[in-house]
Amino acid sequence: MFEYKTELEKKIARSVMKVEKPARYIGGELNAIRKPDDEVSMRVAFAFPDMYEIGMSNLGIQILYKVLNDIPDVQCERVYAPDVDFEAIMRDDDIPLYTLETKRAVQESDIFAISVGYEMLVTNVLNMIDLAGMEVYAKDRKETDPFIIMGGPCTYNPEPLAEFADAFSIGEGEEVWPEIMEKLREWKASGAPKIEFLKSLCEIEGMYVPGFYEFEYNEDGTIREIRKLYDKAPDHIEKRIIQDMDSAPFPTEPVVPFMSTVHDRAVVEIFRGCTRGCRFCQAGMIYRPVRERSMEKIREIVEEQLKATGYEELSILSLSTGDYSRVEDLVTDLMQLCRDNDVSMSLPSLRLDSFSFKVMDEIQGYKKSGLTFAVEAGSQRLRNVINKDITEEHIYSASRQAFELGWHSIKLYFMAGLPGETDEDLAGIADIARNIMNIYKEVNGKIGRLSIHVSVSNFVPKPHTPFQWFPQDTDEEFSRKHELVKNLIKPMKCVRLSYHDSQTSYLEGVLARGDRRMCKTLVEAVRLGCKFDGWREHFDYDKWMQAFENTRVDPDFYARRAWGYDEILPWDLIGTGVDKEFYLRENEKAHRGEITKDCREGCQMCGVNTVFIC
């Protein structure tokens, strides 16, 4: 009755009943992979540094979990950030960060992989390394500690994490990870010191070993030079991608959580990349070129997934679903498949044409959740500046059509703080809401059940975008802009406004364009107690500012400065395939208010096709 396989398992069992949602910490889910110990020669602890229910919803982890476990003698195990209640017990009872599959201390694995999905996770990254019982700085870690390899969208600018990671995997991981494991196998057999493994990683494209580079700075704080410390380290690290989506591995037997998670459903990725070229959008740049999965393959994946999971809902994933080349056929086909299997389907952003209305009319629940438009800016002029291809005529005619079909709610997404934005552009947000309200009145005779939700997020300039040089608004400026929109919207009772927290956006902006000098700030922030910064109830702005002050790093230098075209950028070592020249050209066109067409209608020479196949 009281038997446990290991001392650690016993400690865990005794602790989890004391915390909220014990299901987060025990593993054992359907389709979780646990190999017999004697078949395993390499162990990878793969972490997503947020709570279980967020991490489990991350598709990237599920893909790499499959890729790694498909290698017969590799055991890949999942790790998520414990909530604060469990962390406290872990620290009290000396429970180290452990993996869900075999409940081993992370420190016992060969590689501790961490996927950094967004900027606000950086403190969790450090906290998890610490919980695992390791030193956070790579240089201080022991020869017996696992290698820490980071990846994920946030590492397209790896520098704020550079002193903590042994290596970064830049870009898509499907092909890289088996290569890393081969190097690891060789290294383990050789018995050489850890540095040799890191050197061998330099032979793999897309691998960045930050310890092999040194940054020097000018008086004014800008970067003077990036120097290599190991001559065989690459001069430039180009991201890795999967060129052919049909042969790319995709989880057909994903781990099915017991507890409900953020995306608790079957999911199939239909394509990667986006051709639209919105100038503020990092995803639109770093995931180039567009690569589609064939309809046949998508169907096959969905069928297998439903069979292996018993999920009651399917969703399809991509940047702008409506751009799939055979979207109508695909959606019709999948809807039929779902009907046959008693499965409901959820569809993200379709372009609003007659087809999509037919589809949405069929999909239950759509009317309730309402129509969604990512308008982004309140005037055509500003939409041209950011290259957002949506017109008000389109929004209005689609709204009218929706209202005539009996819809009552609409969601509008905007950004504040865009380059070249004026108060008139912001007033335009309220105008659009008002015009939609009037259309509803025309159709229905009264305002009645109409509800319009206006969501305003704060623009954060991101690396690898045309706006990477742009000074971000101050939080006072953001707040003033929110007020302005709020006052204009107030008289309209059917319009609800929500906006993002300005301080969070500011910090996100600082971290996004940070460099190595910020590493010590992160350590200090963690020391002061910062964690789960993406969670409103945990985010502590004052502690962060304290951390900057204590480490003499000026956050404004990163977020609020107009960066120069001729500056060396902290992420210049990292390549997305897109030329810096292209970003520069696009930024200049933005100044002039010129648009750049969707590159499906003609190549815009971004440079991606010189490295990959478009």
Partner: protein, 234 residues
Amino acid sequence: MKFLVKWTKEGDMRYISHLDIMRLFQRAIKRKGIRMKYTEGYSPHPKMSIAQPLSLGYTSVGEYFEFESLEDMDPELVRELLDSAMPEGIRMDSCSVLRETKKAVGALITAGDYHVGIRMEDPEGYRKIREAARWFMEQPSVTVQKVQKKSGKIKEIDIRQKVRELEIQQQEGYLLLSLKVDTGSQSNLNPEVLLEKLRERAELSGGDMETMIERVEMYAESAEGTEIPLYFLK
């Protein structure tokens, strides 16, 4: 066709909540291609229920759930299919067919068997617990106070009446209490409440002991008025 499945919940599965188990079963049924009957109405949900939810943290070798399928199937095949769809720690032990008209099995439950394991550093503690248990069984009534969920009022409950059998055996490294207690919607006793009373009587604290609670079987009243294990229900 209506099925009654007896199942077990062991190891780490004891941390999986009632709601999560429901979802797990629904998905397992779906995965195995068994088509469930749904309730009518605005938001249809599958006709399925788990009898007498188990407290989080308890294991069990005597759990039951019932569900209705659209098509008739061999109950042993249903058992096999579902068993093969379960994670480690959950086993489908047996499956039988119930009359369609039968009301929910959960509502018929009257009693349950439990095993309670107690482990203590100090062997003297074992003696104290035995003593307390003997005392308990000798009393005509033992009351505890319970805070009513809704009103917040405090109510006196006689828990002695709810304990039908209590046996104690010393096992290798722990004390084993075997209980038969009132279980179900009419009268119910969570073994933890009894344990708390024994602890209090023995002047021990929760920190002195490590406990494990396992449900072993559940009973219902048969048509003849006798108490029978649930799996005998037709």
